[in-house]
């Protein structure tokens, strides 16, 4: 099993979700996050005071999939989240030891 985390542009969330649903994923977790990478922040002005805002709002999605689906899901995110401009985000993939469904106690791929 794999955990796929992706930081994406907020306005791309719907496209990513629809794309991944067509690939047959069974769930995802979404968090509003702030951070910075290579994309620069923006300037905010309040009367005379100017502030550089470095942390940019992004969406983090977390998806757990059987190892066989990893490549398809990553390609799906690349297709749907890409604008080609700086700040499109990143995908992090890690091996996952175990998953347990709380309701039934099922484990492994059955629980995904």
């Amino acid at each position: 099993m794999k955990k796929i985390e992706a930081i994406i542009k907020p306005f791309k969330l719907d496209e990513v979700k629809e794309e991944l649903q067509t690939l047959g994923i069974t769930g995802m977790t979404v968090t509003e996050v702030k951070g910075f990478g290579r994309q620069k922040g923006h300037k905010e002005v309040y009367r005379g005071a100017e502030y550089q805002v470095d942390f940019i709002p992004k969406i983090k999605i977390e998806i757990i999939v059987p190892s066989a689906m990893e490549d398809g899901v990553v390609q799906g995110i690349l297709r749907s989240a890409k604008t080609g401009k700086i700040g499109d985000g990143k995908i992090f993939i890690s091996a996952l030891e175990e998953v347990v469904r709380i309701r039934t106690g099922e484990t492994g791929d059955d629980a995904v």
């Binding site: 002005v45 309040y46 009367r47 005379g48 005071a49």
Partner: protein
């Protein structure tokens, strides 16, 4: 003889001016950080209570009863003794008590205006002391000078609705307060954001609405002068909102919402002394200059680096000074200014505003220094970081952050 028309209007106008103080508390509340929203709003709001009591006790009497040497009133109306429901000495057509109530609302909002300068760092208990002392030793005398039969009124200084008494006065006090109390912790080293600009827009809108009572009500009658003041208030304010964002657009690239509402307040301040004395075109010029001048004053503050948290000096001090002088330039209804052949009026306006600046500056500084070295003005550093809401009032503005 009491006129029911005048009395009806002045009752409404008095209530409108009352609404300005809660409006101001929203305006200021939105501009501070969320940990200080209640502490900031409270400083304005509680003036509604504190100054009301003070006004009845001796405030109205000292400002408006008789005259001692042109500088202060007397104690004969202490406890509003003799101030009743018959028409009074200041108007033949409304109850004396109504005039006292109308003037009370002005006395309430003036110290509340100053709170923007030392926002986010003053002890609440000492703030209350400050309001009592400042109202007594600064507001009451200056109010008497201009409106209570004192020397400035006799000199012929024009102040329709309180440009000198309220705005030059509070703006000067704000500058002194900033210098005595010092900067907020983290000023210029970490960002200090307004936490809720929609509150600020709402507050500015209520100020604008209430200001019709403030300016048009200062005619003390439901008549043509009130209508003129009402109209000039509207156009000067709207124009100043436009000119502030125009200056922003040119200097900083984007027009901001905070700029538009700040400009509106600057326009309201500037037209206040002139409202009943100028025509609509002069009002547009007064408003236009006010928006730009006050914005430049804000930029200058950033350069100099004193921490006037919510720009009371730039908006009320500079805007009020401009308004007082502009009245001496543009007055054409019931009085004449420099542009209408009466240069003398302009010099009288300079004397009026200048004496308010000098007096308010000196006495405010003395009051603040006495408080600073006896009870202390500021909350502790730890309390300042924690925020005024929790440290001064044991509560939080928002359950969800």
């Amino acid at each position: 003889m009491i006129s029911s028309g005048d009395t009806a209007w002045m009752l409404v106008a008095t209530a409108l001016v009352m609404l300005m103080t809660p409006g101001l508390s929203l305006f200021y509340g939105g501009l501070v950080r969320s940990k200080n929203v209640l502490g900031t709003m409270m400083q304005s709001f509680i003036c509604l209570g504190l100054v009301s009591v003070l006004w009845i006790a001796y405030g109205y009497s000292l400002a408006f009863c008789g005259d001692a040497g042109g500088v202060i009133g007397t104690f004969r109306w202490v406890g509003l003794k003799g101030v009743g429901i018959d028409a009074g000495p200041y108007s033949d057509t409304i109850p004396h008590l109504l005039f006292a109530a109308f003037q009370l609302m002005f006395a309430i909002i003036t110290p509340a205006l100053i709170t923007g300068a030392f926002a986010e760092r003053m002890k609440f208990s000492v703030f209350l002391l400050f309001v009592i002392l400042w109202s007594t030793f600064v507001y009451l005398p200056v109010c008497h000078w201009v409106w209570g039969g004192g020397w400035l009124g006799r000199l012929g200084a024009l102040d329709f609705a309180g440009g000198t008494v309220i705005h030059v006065n509070s703006g000067t006090a704000a500058l002194m307060a900033v210098l005595v109390i010092g900067r907020r912790k983290g000023y210029k080293t970490q960002p200090i954001y307004p936490h809720n600009l929609p509150l600020t827009v709402l507050g500015a809108s209520l100020l604008w609405f209430g200001w019709f009572g403030f300016n048009a009500g200062s005619a003390l009658a439901a008549n043509g002068t009130a209508t003129l003041a009402f109209f000039t208030t509207q156009v000067a304010t709207g124009t100043a909102a436009l000119s502030w964002i125009l200056a922003e657009k040119i200097i900083r690239g984007k027009p901001t919402t905070l700029g538009a509402v700040s400009g509106a307040v600057a326009g309201l301040v500037a037209i206040t002394p002139a409202a009943g004395f100028v025509g609509p075109v002069s009002a547009i010029i007064i408003g236009f200059v006010a928006g730009i001048l006050c914005y430049l004053a804000v930029l200058l503050k950033e350069r100099i680096g004193y921490d006037d948290s919510l720009d009371v000096v730039a908006v009320h001090g500079i805007g009020g000074l401009w308004g007082a002088l502009a009245t001496g330039l543009f007055a054409s209804v019931g009085a004449s200014g420099l542009f209408f052949g009466n240069a003398h009026q302009f010099f009288v306006q300079i004397i009026g505003a200048g004496s308010a600046i000098i007096y308010s500056g000196i006495v405010t500084t003395i009051i603040l220094l006495v408080l600073k070295y006896t009870v202390g003005l500021r909350v502790s550093e730890e309390e300042e970081i924690q925020g005024l809401d929790v440290s001064q009032h044991n509560e939080s503005g928002y359950a969800i952050r």
